[in-house]
């Protein structure tokens, strides 16, 4: 059992795989809740926090420390959630926020463009094929740029993840089963030492956030 972070392109079926995993492993399934918690800490709206993550940083915010603080808030909220034990996080940037932490299974879900276009058009029947394709490409490009500017890394690089799962021929159920199997490996078991590390990490994040908040 483990802490599982799922990173995905939009409409790659990540939410459904995450839900399947939570059912199977009987653990909490987090995404937006972490953002809400972070927003509460910062006393801003959830949309404002999400906005900081979902747009590529402008010149101003690159210079200011505002974005850093938002990231720190989300990191703290997530780290606190981790101290509770097993969980599946399929929100933003999990693999980066929990970098260096033990017993974290970092998963990336990818799906062929065609499949994602199909999913988008199934959700919005008005949308033309071309519009759907453009939308997905735009979102991907934004995310890629953002990750590059914030972390200096390529979001697609499989070296950032323990598992990269392609849904082109694997069904959601099979993907879910495979990920659960990986999570069951001894490397991801949360024992006493791991729990202590998680708690220390959460405490450290909290402290840095407080420093940052009082710094103004």
């Amino acid at each position: 059992m483990a802490i599982i972070t799922i990173s995905r392109g939009s409409l790659s079926g990540g939410r459904r795989v995450a839900e399947c995993l939570c059912d199977r492993l009987d653990c909490p399934c987090l995404a937006d809740e972490v953002l809400q918690n972070a927003a509460r800490k910062l006393e801003v709206s959830e949309g404002a926090v999400r906005g900081k993550f979902e747009t590529a940083p402008g010149l101003w915010s690159r210079l200011s420390r505002e974005r850093e603080r938002y990231v720190l808030a989300v990191q703290t909220a997530l780290a606190e959630a981790c101290t509770e034990g097993d969980l599946v996080y399929h929100g933003l940037a999990g693999q980066f926020l929990l970098r260096g932490l033990p017993a974290v299974l970092r998963v990336r879900l990818i799906a062929p463009l065609e499949m994602r276009i199909g999913a988008l058009r199934a959700a919005d029947r008005e949308m033309s094929r071309q519009a759907a394709e453009d939308f997905i490409r735009n979102v991907d490009r934004d995310r890629e740029r953002r990750v590059r500017s914030m972390y200096g890394l390529d979001v697609e690089d499989p070296a950032l993840y323990d598992l990269t799962v392609n849904l082109r021929s694997l069904s959601l159920d099979a993907a879910c089963a495979a990920i659960a199997e990986a999570a069951a490996q001894p490397a991801f078991r949360i024992g006493e030492t791991e729990r202590a590390r998680h708690q220390a990490f959460a405490a450290e994040c909290r402290q840095r956030l407080e420093e940052s908040l009082s710094g103004d």
Binding site: E156, A159, D162, T164, N166, R168, L170, A177
Partner: protein, 272 residues
């Protein structure tokens, strides 16, 4: 049941993963031996074929037709072994060679540089820097190979069904994950899948027969089969003698299992 193709950087533990999967699933295992089978089919020495499949292609190699003949031969040998529907293959570019076949599961294994360097040093006694250079060289020529032959980036995760990073997971862990992943109905082998695998095998055999012919070798003819009917496509010069088409059909007919042949080729005029 599935055809599991393992693609890995050298010294990343691909062989151990293959052996683990083969033992756990009781599938036959195939590695470099496929090159020997391919070499035998072409009638060339195995070492030469091995070299051609591993070397970084030269400028001439890019448009030499012989290299393609080697690839087709390896593909045919692999397809032959895959026809039963279960196999663990841990040789060169399995996923790309088996592209278009059903129930193929491609795994890419990646490992941190440090652990690969350690393996090389243990095996050869090189210094750390030498080992690092050796691994870089091997990776570069493999990735170049895939780029030239298939126009794909070997690192692109979209080429694989699963990428396993051995930074936290062990080879045994990866083995368990793969075993679980192929339990679903999408990898079950039924009559229909067997028929498609047989078609794939047949198409590869036809391609091999065409690639072995001096006149046709360079034309890069492609073949697809369905229910024993083979469709051959490509660009073919329209010779005055009009014999090229006959030759293609004659060679394809000679392959056991071919029921019918359709030429869907683009003729072009080779005269000035």
């Amino acid at each position: 049941m599935a055809i599991i193709c393992i693609c890995r950087g050298s010294k990343s533990g691909g062989r151990r993963l293959a052996e683990c999967l083969s033992a756990r699933l009781d599938y036959p295992i195939l590695g470099r031996e496929v090159l020997q089978e391919a070499a035998a089919a072409l009638g060339v020495p195995a070492e030469m074929l091995e070299r051609k499949m591993a070397d970084r292609p030269s400028l001439w190699g890019r448009f030499s037709s012989m290299r393609r003949a080697y690839v087709v031969a390896v593909q045919a040998a692999l397809a032959e072994r895959a026809a039963s529907g279960n196999l663990v293959y841990h040789g060169l570019s399995g996923g790309l060679l088996m592209r278009g076949a059903p129930v193929v599961f491609c795994v890419r294994l990646i490992a941190p540089m440090e652990s690969r360097v350690r393996v090389v040093r243990e095996e050869t006694g090189m210094t750390a820097a030498e080992a690092r250079g050796y691994i870089r060289e091997l990776d570069a020529s493999r990735s170049r190979w895939v780029e030239v032959m298939y126009g794909e980036d070997i690192m692109d995760p979209a080429l694989y069904d699963l990428v396993v990073n051995l930074v936290s997971l062990t080879v045994e862990g990866g083995c368990a994950v793969v075993t679980r992943a192929i339990q679903g109905p999408e990898f079950s082998v039924d009559e229909d899948v067997l028929a498609r695998l047989e078609d794939f095998r047949l198409a590869c055999q036809v391609k091999l027969a065409l690639a072995g012919d001096v006149e046709l070798r360079a034309l890069e003819l492609d073949a697809e089969a369905e229910g024993g009917t083979v469709v051959i496509s490509g660009e073919v010069p329209l010779r005055k003698s009009g014999r090229t088409g006959d030759r293609i059909v004659e060679l394809a007919r000679g392959v056991a299992g071919v029921r019918q042949i359709r030429l869907r080729v683009e003729w072009f005029d080779p005269y000035p």
